[in-house]
């Protein structure tokens, strides 16, 4: 490299440790979350929920509540005959009419001068129920004669009175099957014939919930012309804008959603839940801004959960370690209504079919209605459940043929260039590097043999190591008609950039990484960028923050807009300086030559464009649509523009006297494409690992008879600081050709295979295989003594 080139090789921002732009405000208590916003004239709302798991509503008397001083409105379904069913399957009326199907069901709502008055008013509402037989066991839901959860239509003006062309209603179901998914590749029977070893287990995955530190809430307000303004924590503002507009029968252009900083998302805010329409109904009824914020107890009882799953897996391989087949059947407890949890099979079947190369595969899910809480989307989206089963069987098959589990995995691992039978194209794939890196850095192979040899020792403390891996979308997920994101970029007269992006910030650091990518193109410091990302009247369309897609999709979009701005500036600079624009660069706030000569100070140059005969401003737009494809009817298709890979080794210590499992360390290797913001990506991995630790060891939303029994942080155990493991994190940089600067999405990945690795580690420590979660002391204690009932598959065919 010559001297001249050295002088212009400007410092890159990529891979650096960049602090989050919003952190100073947050760390000084200045950030205004939704909870901190009070609008003039605002009323406070509360929701009356069902006291019955399953019942007919015979009557609701709101008279006394309406007479309470300070109460502005009390509404029931009768007051909003135009309400429409919401949710993924549109089977869910915000305010229930005729029947309640779970304890969280919304029966009435109040808007009052204060939260206290609203609560007092709820206590005055009299609801008469006629109890119906509850259905709280998903297996029972499929039995003939089981109580039906949605037998009658609901919505519109109420069932039979529905008029053609009238409000949309849910038509009802003659059975309890909410959704089914079936996928097949190859011939499983043939695969089984070719197998030398076959294993089968039933797995039970439990309820957990998001526990965002900021509880759910919304502020709804109509202006004098009937336009709706929502302050909302939604992760999908543009989809919700449309859905609220449909519900209100107004043009979507008349709905504006502002997202104040959000106190945690993790997928919990991907669907519309009844509290949002209810706040809107109350705002319409009162003509005032209405704020509705949950209590923590309500958050536990009335927020979505991770999808609980009963899963039967049968797998086989040849004696030389080639996978032959996998057959999966699952029963998803849908709860009373259908939210995103029911659709987790989209992700689960990818792990079943395509994490490892397996020629013959079949997958079936039935999601059934019960009177239990309903599941939404939650970081990992079914992948924690599927990976837990698949990775248990990777160990069991390796055992069965006497092969080292790492070797067995390496032999079957996907590699770059693979097109799976499900139609996924793996361009970059660092899976084998992830496996070998995580194994080497944790001394997995040596420790596995050592720990196994000590299972029979006298010491009550046993150690074990376990490995597990994961595959997840890392380049968006084409579920909606578009998986894109728009960017508007403005560079002002002082070379300050306003980056207007559709992408939502939920704490993950998207605004910082987007600003970083723009600065990288424009040769500006991070302090030159303001990010605008939270107002649908300003920001361009984006499908939402989900599926680990934001850095990849919004990043490519931001780069596209920045490149256009750069091209425009350099073309103008070339014309002015008489040089070829290809010779010029932007660096350090200047237009520079290849030799490093500073031709123009950027702000001054932009002003000269602005205040000239042909006045012009630098403003660009870009819409990025990833080159991915929708799945076909057989669930085949390349839904993501890139795929993320990871392997994690867990080391545990099991106290055989108490059943307490201590997670000592997680050694993680992640194919992230490329590290953009090292500080940010470490934070994502560490946070995801600890969330996975909670799923494996401590968190358990106990649902009995349709009721959440532990709706508090006292009884629902999040991991605390003293319990976190040592974390050794390696990044495998495969430089994805489609990714922004080579990066892939990583948001969900770190949480996915922790529980599977812990399960394998417990087996290595004790020789005992536990197929249900979480690994609480009681469960482990029983299992070590042969007293834990293994899950059984007693599901009707």
């Amino acid at each position: 490299m010559g001297e001249a080139q050295k002088t212009v090789a400007r410092e890159t921002l990529i891979g650096k440790r960049i602090p989050k732009m919003d952190a100073p405000e947050k760390a000084s208590g200045r950030t205004r979350y939704l909870h901190d916003i009070d609008l003039p004239g605002q009323l406070h709302a509360k929701i009356l929920r069902s006291t019955q798991v399953h019942a007919l509503i015979k009557s609701i008397d709101t008279g006394a509540a309406k007479r309470l001083p300070g109460v502005h409105a009390v509404i029931t379904a009768a007051d909003v005959p135009w309400q429409r069913p919401i949710g993924v399957a549109k089977d869910h009326l915000p305010l229930k009419t005729g029947r309640v199907r779970s304890l969280r069901d919304e029966v009435a709502a109040v808007a009052a001068d204060s939260v206290e008055i609203a609560a007092a008013a709820l206590a005055l509402i009299r609801v008469e129920y006629e109890p119906l037989p509850p259905l709280t066991d998903p297996v029972e839901a499929l039995q003939p004669g089981a109580p039906l959860i949605h037998p009658e239509p609901h919505g519109g003006d109420g069932g039979p009175q529905l008029k053609p062309g009238g409000p949309v209603a849910y038509t009802g179901k003659p059975d309890n099957v909410a959704m089914t998914f079936e996928y097949a590749q190859g011939d499983v029977a043939q695969g089984e014939r070719e197998s030398d070893a076959v294993v089968e287990d039933v797995f039970r995955l439990h309820y957990v919930t998001h526990c965002c530190m900021g509880v759910s809430g919304v502020i709804a307000e109509f202006d004098a012309s009937g336009n709706l303004l929502l302050h909302s924590n939604t992760q999908v503002p543009f989809l919700h804008k449309r859905e609220f507009a449909e519900m209100l029968g107004i043009d979507p252009g008349r709905v504006r959603i502002i997202q104040p900083p959000i106190g945690g998302g993790f997928g919990s805010k991907l669907d519309i839940y009844p509290f949002e329409p209810i706040a809107i109904f109350l705002a319409r009824a009162t003509g005032r801004p209405v704020k509705l914020v949950y209590t923590r107890e309500e958050e536990f009882e009335a927020s979505p959960t991770r999808q609980p799953v009963l899963l039967k897996l049968r797998s086989g391989c040849t004696r030389d370690g080639a996978l032959t087949f996998r057959a999966v059947e699952t029963l998803h407890d849908n709860g009373a209504y259908t939210s995103w949890g029911a659709t987790t099979p989209f992700v689960m079947m990818q792990t079943v079919s395509s994490l490892y190369r397996v020629p013959h595969c079949k997958y079936r899910t039935r999601a059934v209605y019960t009177n239990n809480p309903y599941a939404g989307s939650f970081r990992g989206y079914g992948n924690l459940q599927a990976t837990f089963a698949v990775e248990a069987h990777m160990d069991r098959l390796a055992d069965a043929i006497g092969m080292d589990p790492l070797e067995f995995r390496l032999k079957n691992a996907q590699q770059p260039g693979e097109v799976t039978p499900q139609g996924m194209h793996f361009g970059t794939c660092g899976f084998k590097e992830c496996l070998s890196t995580a194994a080497a850095r944790s001394a997995y192979q040596r420790k596995r043999l050592e720990h196994a040899s000590r299972q029979g020792d006298a010491s009550p403390l046993k150690r074990g190591v376990g490995i597990a891996s994961m595959l997840h979308v890392g380049g968006g997920a084409k579920i909606y008609p578009s998986d894109g994101c728009g960017t508007i970029l403005k560079i002002d007269d002082f070379a300050h950039v306003t980056l207007i992006t559709g992408a939502s910030e939920i704490g993950q650091g998207s605004e910082t990484v987007l600003a970083q990518l723009v600065c990288e193109e424009l040769g500006l410091p991070l302090s030159s960028v303001t990010v605008v990302n939270n107002d649908t009247d300003i920001t361009p369309w984006d499908v939402g923050v989900h599926a680990s897609r934001t850095t990849f999709i919004a990043g490519n979009s931001a780069i596209g807009a920045a490149k256009k701005a750069k091209d425009k500036i350099l073309a103008a600079a070339a014309a002015k300086s008489g040089r070829a624009s290809g010779d010029l660069q932007l660096s350090g706030g200047f237009v520079v030559t290849p030799e490093g000569e500073k031709l123009f100070e950027l702000g001054k140059f932009l002003r000269s464009l602005h205040f000239s005969d042909k006045a012009d401003l630098v403003m660009t737009t870009f819409y990025y649509e990833p080159p991915s494809h929708h799945q076909d009817r057989e669930f085949k298709g390349d839904v993501s523009a890139a795929y993320a890979w990871a392997s994690q080794v867990a080391e545990v210590e099991v106290d055989t006297r108490t059943g307490i499992v201590k997670l000592l360390s997680i050694t993680a290797a992640h194919d992230v494409g490329r590290v953009l913001n090292r500080l940010g990506i470490e934070g994502q991995i560490e946070g995801g690992v600890v969330m996975g630790q909670g799923y494996a060891l401590t968190e358990n939303l106990i649902v009995e008879g349709g009721a959440v029994k532990n709706p508090s942080f006292r009884d629902y155990k999040l991991v605390t600081a003293p319990e976190i493991p040592e974390m050794d994190i390696s990044f495998i940089e495969t430089m994805d050709g489609e990714g922004p600067q080579g990066a892939k999405g990583v948001g969900e990945a770190p949480a996915i295979c922790v529980a599977a690795a812990v399960a394998n580690a417990i087996h290595n420590a004790t020789g005992v295989r536990i197929t249900s979660l979480p690994f609480t002391p009681e469960r482990v204690y029983r299992a070590l003594r042969g007293k834990l009932e293994a899950p059984v598959w007693n599901v009707p065919a």
Partner: protein, 153 residues
Amino acid sequence: MSAKVEIDFTLNGVREQRAVAADMSALAMLRDVVGLTGTKYGCGEGECGACTIRVDGVTLNACLMFAVDCDGREVTTIEGLAATPPGEKLRASFVEHGAVQCGFCTPGLVMQASHLIEKNPGAGEEEIRRGIEGNLCRCTGYRKIIEAIAGAK
């Protein structure tokens, strides 16, 4: 809706006289009466630490304290701490170490950290972990929070 009680206390170095309901929590007073919203509601029962404040130097959960019990005491919230050199140092360290994601737990953790550092300037990693065990964070996995506190000593 209960009777109001007059209280007189020091809030972030400024003397305050307020009339508060007898059953109001210190958290509700700070947020809804005084209008300082840096102190967060996370659970309302002392389990998450998002509402950590300092009263006469000691950290406690504002949701578990009655507003009337602030009478005669010196109360510090995140807004007050943030304006002091130790608060600025903690903020800088939390920012630099990537200890902030959604940020909802952060004010409580910064408050707890200030107390921890003051009480035990030589705190090692284990002591820092124990010192913040009453503060829940769902985003970060705590690792970077621990590093931020160690880096602010």
